[in-house]
């Protein structure tokens, strides 16, 4: 059987929809927003996304989200006075791994002719509700972790990256280059929680250990904020206020045998363990886009923890297995001269943790040419979603 026989046909919705509006609240450290509720931030972000798209917020007729979004579509609909809700979708489980999947579902609803304008939104106030870095009960799989003190995503990914170090010789020192690249970009981005707070190599390497090999600055922020974007058809997008950003490809996937992966009992296939479970995802994504990893001009890689970025670079074929560490240590994530400027807003490590949706909005800015660390002549942007959860998703945006 030849390889092409195994390859899926190019999905019908590939490159048929666009992101035409983005909206965000301010981002702060957890507990930083006390004057408005998480619900209000959610509604503000959606309102801004509609305004950015040049549409009336009442034109929104579909709602997609993921993770632990608390504000379900009917609450959003009634608050904003939206006359018709024709589509509602929350990606199952998966946490931040479902972020790009929610954008995929929005694109599908538009392409199927169900909706004209679908909003994808995510609101998180970790000060008003739970902190993601703290223990919380995980009804599926939790009893194989929590009784043994395995309780937070940082700890779970520390196990997979420790194995990556063993198999490929990657190092804790390489991690610092991911953190520093994100911080450098955040220093150029006034929206970033870490704006105005430089980070040195020495500060990174002397910070306290959270879960070896991850130190403090290897772990993402805990944030208050909300984020939204509007998806419509390529045809409607031409009439928009902002230049449309095409969704060239959008995919969700999990490799065989992963189950809950690092957020479960750690019984993923042995050869696949030191990864972020995105190899099948990368195949689906690039097949759909009809381009190769070398055609990607910039990336927004889900950086809940620095080690995820190194493993994702390998899974997505940007680097060969084991080459992710040397790639980041050579400064290749850095704007403007790195081979693949990545997380150009500061990412989840230094801009804010809005469960990955702020990586999508930054991808949109790169394709519009409006990032604070704008990659010259960028035509394509890879956006990946997901940290400790097995279920992953990703997008390729284009202009």
């Amino acid at each position: 059987m030849t390889e092409s026989v195994n390859r899926p046909q190019r999905a019908a919705f590939a490159d048929r929809t666009s992101i035409v509006g983005i909206g965000e609240s301010e981002y702060t450290r957890w507990g930083g927003i006390k004057d408005r509720s998480e619900y209000q931030l959610c509604l503000e972000a959606i309102t801004r996304a509609a305004a950015d798209a040049g549409i009336d917020v009442k034109d929104i007729d579909g709602f997609c989200s993921y993770g632990y979004e608390r504000h379900e579509p009917v609450q959003v609909q009634v608050a904003l006075g939206i006359p018709e809700m024709r589509f509602s979708n929350l990606v199952w489980g998966a946490g931040g791994g479902a972020c790009a999947g929610a954008v995929m579902n929005a694109a599908l609803a538009v392409h199927a002719g169900i909706c004209k304008y679908v909003v994808v939104y995510r609101s998180i106030c970790q000060g008003q509700y739970e902190r993601y870095g703290h223990y919380r009960e995980r009804p599926a799989g939790g009893q194989y972790m929590a009784p043994f003190g395995l309780m937070s995503p940082a700890q779970m990914v520390a196990l997979t990256f420790r194995r990556h170090m063993h198999v490929y010789g990657s190092t804790a020192e390489q991690l610092s280059h991911v953190a520093l690249a994100c911080r450098e970009h955040a220093l150029r981005n006034p929206r970033a929680v870490r704006y105005g707070q430089p980070l040195t190599l020495e500060q990174h390497r002397s910070a306290r250990v959270i879960a070896d090999p991850f130190r403090l600055h290897d772990c993402c922020l805990e944030t208050d904020g909300a984020c939204a974007l509007i998806v419509t058809s390529n045809e409607r997008a031409r009439d928009g206020r902002a230049p449309p950003v095409r969704i060239l490809a959008a995919a969700q996937a999990s490799n065989k045998g992963w189950g809950l992966g690092p957020m479960g009992s750690h019984n993923m296939p042995i050869e696949d363990y030191p990864s972020v479970n995105s190899k099948a995802l990368a195949r689906a994504l690039f097949d759909m886009a009809g381009i190769a990893p070398k055609d990607i001009d910039c990336a927004q890689i889900y950086d809940a923890f620095t080690g995820i970025v190194i493993m994702a670079l390998e899974d997505f074929g940007i680097c060969a297995p084991g080459e992710g560490g040397p790639f980041v240590a050579a400064g290749n994530l850095l704007w403007p001269h790195g081979k693949l400027p990545s997380n150009t807003s500061g990412g989840l490590l230094s801009e804010g943790y809005v469960h990955g949706l702020n990586l999508v909005t930054e991808g949109v800015r790169q394709m519009r040419g409006t990032s604070t660390s704008q990659v010259a002549d960028a035509r394509t942007c890879l956006v990946t979603s997901g940290g400790a959860q097995a279920h992953k998703s990703a997008l390729i945006l284009a202009n």
Binding site: P147, Q155, S265
Partner: protein
Amino acid sequence: MSGNYLPDGVPSPHPTQDDYPFWDYCKEHELRIQQCAACNTFRHPPRPVCGECGHFTWNWTAVSGLGTVFSYTIINHSVHPALKESLPYNVAVVLLDGVGDVRLVSNVIDAAPEQMRIGLPVELVWQDLPDGMALPRFRKGGAA
């Protein structure tokens, strides 16, 4: 105080309809792993069907309790109030001998942080919890 590796107050397992036999055997200080009755493939955590052959019948097969550290982390930051006085502690993924690629998330109770390494041979020990549950943990064991 129980004298266990981690203190009382850490969440205890809550068995489900799918996995209660695993935990019931633990209470008897027997480590048994679910094995397909048709194709003999081991699987963990317990689930109702074999992903290899599709059969819904299984056995609970006793294992030696020997294994090696497949990965580990040393945790220096507590995310649960019960663990604030327990830092640092290790979490290990232990690859069990003789049951395919089945691994348990657990702890190596007698290994100092600098002694932890991938490939470290370990052997099973049981630690009883106040609520009647028992946890499979490990200590350094066997050949170096």
